[in-house]
């Protein structure tokens, strides 16, 4: 009896906590539209990098269709992939495409739909150097492999004639948390350096040969700003919004390109020709004179078979809306738009969902 009461009390306590949390969480979501409760709730989860644009899209979509609410939780790409495989969400989202092994684990075929693009930029803190530096792929790979240890190394200096680089140690900074930003960076290094590919490889977090780890873009940029001689990588959006200086990177056509929304979209357009039908493609080091080489798509993961007809209709409609009207909203939030070639190809691919 005593046990029972204590369990009841515990359950009550938990229920109250849950209620409390709900009460705390719900108002902001419900506040803008005191409209009737949504008739249909579609759930998604995954990548954190596109969260700002996704939440904008789902909000705008909800305004157009007050009876539909799309709920997205930014739990990370790994979580998004796991949940879409397990079928606990209606769709997932990821910054790195699913592997063949992961696709094999899912009960139904999972389709990839690119939504927006992002890029990584190298940022640095060299006392006495305020100019914009040029980085060759060899220099970046060498620095992150620990082979280039001084700022005046010829591999860096030759691409930056006229800039007086000091004879000081390079302090390498990388992300400590698993992230899509890291995935893009190491995917690029794997493409431009065979040694990186075999020794380190690519994933959302890797076994770094050297360096300090900072948590999040803010952790990396904080370490770089504080540590003289440091180099790190952050998301382009983060660099733009925080007015951080960053360097140019030499692309596959041999041109030093500074990352901006246009050069990222150009990278996707350059890769569009060789785009596989499942959209699982890396666009780092893409061809094209104006293409910025450290760019990537981020994807929505949609099961090819959706049992609930109402949900299927919403997801299909949303995908069409996202490719057309949704794309007009992305640049305001500093994401790069999909090039029209990719939009056309995706529009066709939507018919694969049934």
């Amino acid at each position: 009896m005593k046990l029972k009461t204590s369990i009841t009390k515990m359950a009550l306590g938990m229920a109250m906590v849950t209620l409390g949390v709900c009460a705390f969480v719900q108002p902001p979501a419900a506040a803008p539209t005191p409209a009737p409760a949504p008739a249909l709730l579609v759930n998604g989860a995954g990548a954190t990098f596109p969260y700002p644009i996704y939440s904008k899209w789902f909000d705008e979509y909800h305004k157009l269709h007050p009876d539909i609410e799309i709920n997205y939780q930014s739990i990370g790409s790994g979580g998004g992939i796991r949940q879409v495989i397990a079928g606990t969400v209606d769709f997932g989202a990821t910054d790195g495409p699913m592997t063949d092994e992961q696709l094999g684990q899912a009960k139904t075929k999972i389709l990839h739909f690119p939504t927006v693009m992002g890029a990584d930029v190298p940022t640095y803190n060299i006392p006495g150097v305020s100019q914009e530096l040029n980085f060759t792929p060899e220099a970046l790979a060498g620095i992150y492999l620990g082979k280039i240890t001084k700022w005046n190394d010829p591999a860096i200096a030759d691409a930056n004639k006229g800039i007086n680089l000091p004879d000081s140690d390079i302090v390498v900074v990388h992300r400590s948390d698993g992230s899509g930003t890291t995935y893009i960076w190491v995917d690029y290094l794997s493409k431009v350096s065979d040694e990186w590919k075999t020794k380190v490889g690519k994933s959302t977090s890797v076994n770094w040969p050297l360096g300090l780890g900072g948590k999040g873009n803010e952790g990396v940029s904080g370490l770089v700003k504080q540590t003289p001689g440091a180099i790190g990588y952050v998301e382009l959006i983060y660099a733009i919004q925080n007015h951080m200086p960053y360097g140019k990177v030499r692309n596959s056509a041999g041109v030093f390109v500074k990352a901006d929304l246009a050069s990222v979209t150009a990278a996707a357009a350059g890769a569009a020709k060789s785009m596989p039908d499942d959209f699982r493609v890396s666009i780092t080091n893409a061809p094209g004179k104006t293409a910025y080489p450290i760019s990537s798509f981020t994807w929505l993961l949609v099961p090819s078979k959706i049992d609930d007809p109402a949900k299927k209709k919403v997801i299909l409609d949303f995908l069409h809306w996202m490719l057309k009207d949704g794309q007009q909203l992305v640049e305001a939030l500093s994401y790069a738009k999909l090039p029209k070639e990719v939009v056309a190809k995706e529009t066709k691919a939507i018919s694969l969902v049934n």
């Binding site: 790994g78 796991r82 790195g96 490889g201 977090s205 076994n207 300090l212 948590k215 370490l223």
Partner: protein, 291 residues
């Protein structure tokens, strides 16, 4: 019955951690504890750098925090005028309630620059012959991790130790003073030994917090899973790597290796708490025999 529910939670916790980490246990066995590589791409996982980082940063924290904390507690309970004592106690209890991320920010913006520009170069020039203070200076380091932890646990030690010292019967002090002891002798030879068990308990409570601390540590420790003798080198702790990599961990082996790290941390905490209990029992008995 409430106690039974606590045991139930503990059992469920261990069960969950254990069953969800079967893959790496099968693959690495006990080698998991000794492996020095953490390679999510190649699927090779070893816990040693994280165990080492957790133990060293916590030990460093205790080394700094225990003398400071116990000293402050003695001052507050024995020496300070009541008004100052109650004001300081209020502030210290406030500090004990500050969220750890705030201490992390304090670490990044205040502690790390001070270490990099002042303390570390000084240590290197004066004690640089020791392997503890060799190597390049980044600021973020095992030393910074340990010091942030020390700052965080000092309030715990002070707060609990002070309570224990206050609970020492006034008669004990009066008797000591009555026998002609000075204030100093009464404090060190009567009050502190009397409260010894409670002071140990406060230290172990603080240690438990240090072992499991995540945010503040990951912000200043440098997050590099390598074992280095130098305190200037970056390190990594178990709690920090779980928090950092869990959300984006793809692949079952990787995820389960992180869960096994959780199990390791759990066992480490139990081990240390068990030891603590033994120490407390031993000192309590010794006290009983003597007194």
């Amino acid at each position: 019955m409430a106690a039974a529910s606590i045991i139930a939670v503990t059992v469920m916790l261990v069960y969950q951690l254990y069953t969800n980490s079967s893959l790496p246990r099968q693959k690495f066995g006990l080698g998991f504890f000794l492996g020095r590589t953490w390679d999510p791409v190649g699927g090779d996982f070893g816990a040693l750098p994280f165990i080492y980082g957790t133990m060293v940063s916590s030990a460093l924290a205790l080394l700094v925090a225990v003398p400071l904390g116990v000293g402050a507690a003695i001052f507050l309970s024995e020496l300070a005028p009541p008004r100052i004592s109650s004001a300081l106690t209020f502030v210290i209890e406030l500090l004990a309630a500050v969220p750890s991320v705030i201490y992390g920010l304090l670490g990044i913006f205040v502690l790390v620059p001070v270490l990099r520009q002042g303390v570390m170069p000084f240590l290197k020039t004066t004690l640089g012959f020791l392997p503890l203070f060799k190597g390049p200076i980044y600021g973020v380091s095992m030393l910074a991790g340990g010091l942030v932890l020390a700052i965080m646990i000092v309030p715990f030690i002070i707060s609990v130790s002070r309570e224990v010292l206050m609970a020492v019967p006034v008669e004990q002090r009066e008797a000591a003073l009555g026998l002609g002891a000075t204030k100093w002798e009464s404090t060190w030879q009567v009050v502190v030994p009397f409260a010894r068990v409670g002071i140990f308990a406060s230290v172990f409570l603080a240690l438990a917090r240090a072992l499991g601390e995540t945010m503040a540590v990951t912000m200043v420790i440098g997050n590099d899973p390598k074992i280095s003798a130098s305190l200037f080198a970056p390190g990594y702790s178990i709690a920090a790597v779980i928090a950092n990599e869990f959300t984006e961990a793809t692949g079952d082996l990787y995820l389960q290796a992180l869960i096994e790290l959780g199990l390791v941390l759990f066992l480490l905490t139990i081990l240390i708490n068990g030891l603590a209990r033994l120490v407390i029992i031993a000192t309590a008995q010794k006290g009983a025999v003597q007194g």
